[in-house]
């Protein structure tokens, strides 16, 4: 059964230095506030996994929490580049960042294999690309029936999976809908999981298109309204596009980024959401 915890308690308990952490949410329901809490907790040497690193990992990388990034597309969606991510890879600032790079199809299947208790997944992927030469979690496997050679990717089984959902009930059953991404797989593939939710409710109303994760498959739930800001939480909030655009300028400059960290993460005063 999932425990209902405060966010800071949950992060302190579940996320350790050196852990492999997957924070997912495919451009919707991104667990941004949980990411800020990990920065605030001063975690180091994390292996961060995420299909679309996005602002959440740009911030964690810039803050020096990560030693490695496992990903498939690292941009500021609809705006441009992730400058902290680039600075880490091109200039090892603030610390060197190792990368393990896949396609979306490969990453999604790595989570599927992880959730399924299998060591690998098979796909038609990476054909003709230079990615397999640089990523050792991409290989090939031969069909025992047809002899055909296909791509294989290693299962991804993070120590901790972190997602944001619309609702949970007080027993810890989690419900999310709209674009549901790879969040179910992330939680099921991970040894421990943390779900931040817009609200805790007495009962989960039936909801078209909803994914429900039963309480006994989740480690901890924390009520964090606005926990996906500035990304979307369908039914609760829209994308704060200005934040994404402003991030471009903040993140381009190490000094402005440091100020942002001081003010927005470590400072007592924070911008209103």
């Amino acid at each position: 059964m999932a425990r209902i915890l405060q966010l800071d308690t949950a992060v302190a308990e579940l996320v350790n230095d050196g852990d492999t952490v997957a924070m997912e949410g495919f451009t919707h329901l991104i667990p941004m506030t949980a990411g800020h809490e990990i920065i605030r907790a001063g975690r180091r040497n994390l292996t961060l996994c995420r299909m679309t690193p996005d602002l959440i990992y740009d911030q964690l990388i810039g803050a020096g929490c990560a030693r490695k990034l496992v990903f498939s597309w690292g941009g500021n969606p609809g705006v441009g580049s992730l400058h902290r991510f680039r600075d880490a890879i091109q200039n090892s600032w603030p610390v060197p960042l190792e990368i393990e790079e896949h396609s979306h199809a490969g990453m999604a299947n790595r989570y599927v294999a992880g959730a399924s208790g299998l060591p690998f997944a098979v796909l038609r992927g990476y054909a003709g690309t230079d990615l397999p030469a640089h990523t050792d979690t991409i290989s090939t496997v031969r069909c025992p029936f047809t002899g055909e050679e296909l791509a294989a990717v290693a299962a991804l089984n993070p120590d901790v999976g972190v997602i944001h959902a619309q609702r949970a009930d007080r027993a810890g059953n989690v419900q999310f809908w709209g674009i549901t991404g790879v969040q179910k797989e992330t939680v099921l593939a991970s040894a421990r999981s943390l779900v931040t939710v817009e609200e805790l409710v007495d009962e989960l109303p039936a909801q078209p298109g909803a994914v429900v994760l039963p309480s006994w498959a989740v480690t901890a739930v924390a009520e964090v309204p606005g926990g996906s800001h500035p990304s979307y939480a369908q039914g609760y909030s829209e994308r704060d596009n200005t934040y994404y655009q402003d991030w471009d300028a903040i993140s381009r400059d190490r000094e402005r980024f440091r100020q942002w960290l001081d003010t927005e993460i470590h400072g007592s005063e924070r911008s209103p959401r």
């Binding site: 451009t27 919707h28 091109q90 003709g128």
Partner: protein
């Protein structure tokens, strides 16, 4: 589409980006299933749906099948895509059940570099992967879009930095390093059939698969395209001329772009 093109050409002024978007839109036939990314492809596909291809089926990689947004989405995670979709599925399903088996007719790709065989680079600029001159966003859905869609449309602005003889890194395969990769790899889709740029259209040569200039944008000369291309560009024997956007296309395109409100807040 012929109806569309037989309309009186626009008296209005238009930008080369508008021409590029309209050309991409016209390349989508009604009823096609189209895998769409944010930016120009999303604009072009939604323009097509409002003009000559009302039955175009739009799939965004975030898992929305048959989405019919009233406004342009800000990102592939935009709620409008889920709310107006026939069905919303998870990301593993969109790649495994819908893209991989060849259910998608047309995929759009772009990138930092494209080479003479239509290979695309969105990974690194420079020869050293581990210490790149410029680190680009990476692959996203592109490698499998490039191999699994019935055909691929590439849309990119023309420049010698972008149109290179050989890409530094193949993120998404076109016709491979020597033009013959698709047959060698047994890929199901036809690969890039058109590269639509702000200067015109390139298409793979039937015999060699080398990208060849087939259409010029209004007001553009061959020499300008050659100068913007990083390899000795061949020109098709019958060089076509793009029809400028019609007034209707321009009006609808601009209405669409205006729906991209800025600074929406939670």
């Amino acid at each position: 589409m012929s109806d569309e093109l037989s309309e009186v050409p626009a008296a209005s002024e238009f930008t080369s980006d508008e021409m590029m978007t309209v050309a991409a839109s016209r390349s989508l036939h009604d009823g096609a299933v189209c895998f769409v990314g944010i930016g120009l492809p999303s604009t072009a596909a939604n323009l097509a749906r409002r003009t000559h291809a009302p039955g175009l089926v739009l799939i965004y990689e975030s898992g929305t099948l048959g989405t019919k947004p009233q406004r342009l989405p800000l990102s592939i995670g935009d709620g409008v895509l889920a709310e107006t979709a026939d069905s919303v599925v998870g990301v593993p399903e969109i790649f495994n059940y819908w893209l991989q088996p060849g259910r998608v007719d047309v995929g759009f790709l772009g990138g930092a570099q494209v080479d003479r065989y239509g290979n695309i680079n969105t990974t690194v600029i420079g020869d050293d992967y581990d210490s790149p001159e410029v680190r680009l966003p990476g692959a996203g859905g592109a490698p499998e879009i490039a191999t699994s869609c019935g055909e691929v449309l590439i849309v990119m602005r023309h420049s010698p930095r972008a149109f290179v003889s050989d890409v530094d890194f193949i993120t998404s395969v076109g016709h491979g390093r020597d033009g013959g990769a698709r047959a060698e790899l047994g890929l199901p889709g036809r690969g890039p059939v058109k590269v639509i740029t702000d200067l015109g259209v390139l298409q793979p040569d039937e015999r060699t698969n080398e990208l060849t200039l087939t259409d010029l944008a209004p007001g553009v000369e061959v020499e300008r395209v050659r100068a913007a291309t990083g390899w000795p560009l061949r020109v098709a024997e019958e060089l076509g001329a793009q029809q400028p956007p019609t007034d209707r296309e321009l009006r609808i395109l601009r209405e669409l772009k205006a729906t991209l409100g800025n600074g929406e807040s939670s």
